[in-house]
């Protein structure tokens, strides 16, 4: 499974969504369950599975799947603060 598919799966798992309901365009504004507490769980899941640790400034920005993918891509290029 590539990172993108894995991220979609983890977002679904953290927010209690079926796989069909999760797509690349999903943002926290679309999903009532994506509140600040679910966000904590989602960040923990992503860190556990992707073997990364987000910078404290990144965490509040991970509010859409696009943003998560972009952050991971930036990290893959080594273009991050930590």
């Amino acid at each position: 499974m590539n990172d993108e598919a894995e991220i979609l799966r983890l977002v679904g798992l953290a927010l209690g969504l079926s796989p069909a309901a999760v797509h690349k365009g999903l943002t926290s504004e679309d999903v009532p369950a994506w509140d600040s507490l679910a966000h904590i769980t989602l960040v923990g899941l992503l860190e556990e599975h992707l073997g990364t640790r987000f910078h404290e400034n990144e965490i509040a920005e991970l509010v859409s799947i696009e943003a998560i993918l972009a952050t991971m891509a930036r990290r893959a290029r080594g273009d991050c603060d930590n």
């Binding site: 600040s36 904590i40 769980t41 899941l45 556990e48 599975h49 404290e56 965490i59």
Partner: protein
């Protein structure tokens, strides 16, 4: 365990969990702890319970408890934070006595309002770290607060337990247990790994309350108790050694098992092997820590393991749901699971270093309570009783006389409340009204003069069965009403339930002098055997209210013949 595994498990088992008995947890807190909910649901599900978790507001523990009065909580978790209790404590220091006294008062208010067992964690080190000029005094002050909190909990006249975070999170260390990033971002002090360990301990307390704790470990031998196949390599060449890996992992696993057996957990073998080979290891291997005397029973033969498991459960008088079955072969576990879905199956890890801690999640690191220890040890005596009964052939009278049963009946004492509560939660067969009590409710009934609560403890020449019965009565004007009567199935079949009831009714007659008696029988799935119980005491059915038969009597009869072969003491 990873968070994803927990969430996947909860999603995959949604229906099964939904059908399990509910367990209501109220979380009162000064800090963010919501991510505790998923591991708590997972851990309670492992014990056959469905968690219903409710979180209070921030810093409003007592107010939330007051608002939650009457909601029938099973457990109240209270997360106080020194950062909220004394915001400048890392600069100004702590007055341990003052903080502990405030906590004591708040816990007392919470326990009184919620009428449930309260679980309160000790305080960790400051999340901001110790002050730059290291002040050893602050660490001492936090330790002093925790010591005083422990004293307050131990002496409390209400049901409260301490969750010693230094013990529970000791394996992680504070570095991995506390998360400053989460603290500053979300006011969440604990890491995910720490929350899982806290959830595990809270769930064990829940399982203990409901009588869902595992009582027996059934073990395979080859590649479980030692490395290698003893039938192939011989006892001398199996892997089992105090220092040499992988034998050292098996050696330490055996040490843990022996320690559990000393806490009253029953150990059994279920192995496809020649018995002679297995006992050559247990009796003579120089590094084998598990010996024949640690075993409650065994089935070492070539028969299918599910058959052996069923026999072991019958021999020990245990429900299959109280058994942990440990094996290195997934197909053996699957066969057991297929036939007995209630058995908890545990696969030995492929990486041997993980073996010693394999069963940690099933057993609390808190010390077992004395009453539970006695009850578990009593199971071993039950097997002896079964053999004794067979020896007496068909004569029940001769068998009962040979047991020399002594029943101790007295008003419920403070230290008996926790055990009586658990008994009320799990007794289904000899239970007249199916009334389930929280510790708080029972404590109230011990203190309120309009109630009388009695306990029955039984011993015989084979051992001590411990506290096995409870009767609760309520006085209303001149009427004595039996609110609850339940006796553990372990103590049935020896007339102790008759002797107990007779002694309680005699006591009530002398103390309350009632002119009218009232009792009830509520029909449930498994208590058909007691439908006519009250007739033995001259009660007559008057009416049925919502499925409950109400019985009354002007005068009760307590004939000497009831309770034959049972000696009563106070």
């Amino acid at each position: 365990m990873r968070t994803a595994d927990i969430l996947s498990y909860l999603a995959a088992n949604r229906e099964r969990i939904a059908a399990a008995p509910g367990f209501r947890v109220l979380v009162l807190r000064d800090v963010t702890v919501e991510p505790l909910a998923a591991p708590l649901r997972y851990c309670l599900a492992e014990h056959g319970l469905r968690a219903e978790v409710t979180f209070g507001g921030y810093g409003t523990a007592v107010q939330d408890a007051m608002r939650a009065t009457g909601a029938k909580w099973d457990l109240v978790l209270v997360f106080f934070a020194l950062e909220e209790l004394a915001p400048d404590y890392d600069v100004t220091g702590l007055d341990a006595a003052e903080v502990a006294e405030r906590l004591r008062q708040e816990l007392e208010s919470i326990a009184a309002a919620c009428q449930a067992t309260v679980l309160v964690p000790t305080f960790p080190p400051p999340l901001s770290g110790y002050p730059l000029r290291r002040d050893p005094g602050l660490a001492d002050q936090i330790r002093a607060v925790n010591d005083r909190l422990r004293e307050a909990v131990h002496g409390a006249p209400y049901p409260v337990r301490l969750l010693d975070l230094a013990l529970v999170l000791g394996g992680l260390g504070w570095e991995r247990a506390l998360d400053p990033r989460s603290w500053y971002l979300h006011r969440l002090p604990f890491s995910g790994a720490a929350l899982q360990l806290i959830a595990r301990e809270a769930a064990l307390l829940g399982a203990e309350q409901r009588g869902h704790l595992k009582k027996c470990i059934v073990l395979d031998c080859d590649d479980t108790l030692w490395g290698g196949i003893v039938g192939e390599v011989g006892p001398e060449r199996i892997e089992l050694h105090p220092r040499e890996f992988p034998g050292s992992a098996f050696y330490d696993f055996q040490k843990r098992l022996v320690a559990l057996s000393k806490q009253g957990i029953l150990l059994c073998l279920c192995s496809k092997n020649d018995e002679e080979q297995v006992f050559a290891v247990l009796d003579r291997h120089p590094h084998c820590r598990l010996r024949r005397e640690h075993l409650a029973a065994w089935r070492v033969n070539w028969r299918p393991k599910p058959e052996n498991l069923r026999e072991l459960a019958e021999e020990l008088g245990l429900g299959l749901d109280s058994i942990l079955f440990v094996d290195d072969q997934p197909r053996e576990l699957e066969a057991a699971r297929m036939l007995f879905p209630d058995i908890c199956c545990v696969l030995t890890p492929q990486e041997r270093h993980a073996l010693p801690a394999l069963l940690d999640r099933f057993f609390s690191i808190a010390e077992p309570q004395e009453e539970d220890l006695r009850r578990l040890v009593a199971v071993q005596a039950d097997a002896t009783r079964l053999r004794e009964r067979a020896r007496h052939g068909g004569s029940l009278d001769a068998y009962l006389a040979s047991l020399a049963t002594v029943a101790s009946v007295h008003r419920m004492r403070r230290e008996e409340v926790a055990r009586a509560c658990r008994l009320s939660q799990r007794t289904n067969q000899f239970n007249l009204t199916m009334r389930r009590y929280s510790e708080g409710e029972l404590l109230n009934r011990c203190q309120d003069p309009s109630y009388a609560a009695f306990t029955l403890s039984v011993r015989d020449r084979f051992g001590d069965l411990g506290l096995v019965g409870v009767l609760v009565a309520r006085r209303e004007n001149a009427t004595a009403e039996i609110e609850a009567l339940f006796v553990s199935c372990r103590a049935l079949g020896r007339n102790a339930e008759d002797a107990f009831t007779r002694a309680c009714l005699d006591d009530l007659r002398k103390q309350w002098r009632p002119s009218r008696w009232r009792a009830a029988y509520m029909a449930a799935a498994r208590n058909g055997q007691v439908e006519r119980f009250w007739e033995r005491f001259n009660f007559s059915a008057m009416r049925t209210d919502a499925g409950t038969k109400i019985l009354e009597a002007d005068q009760i009869r307590t004939a000497e013949a009831l309770g034959r072969h049972v000696e009563l003491t106070d």
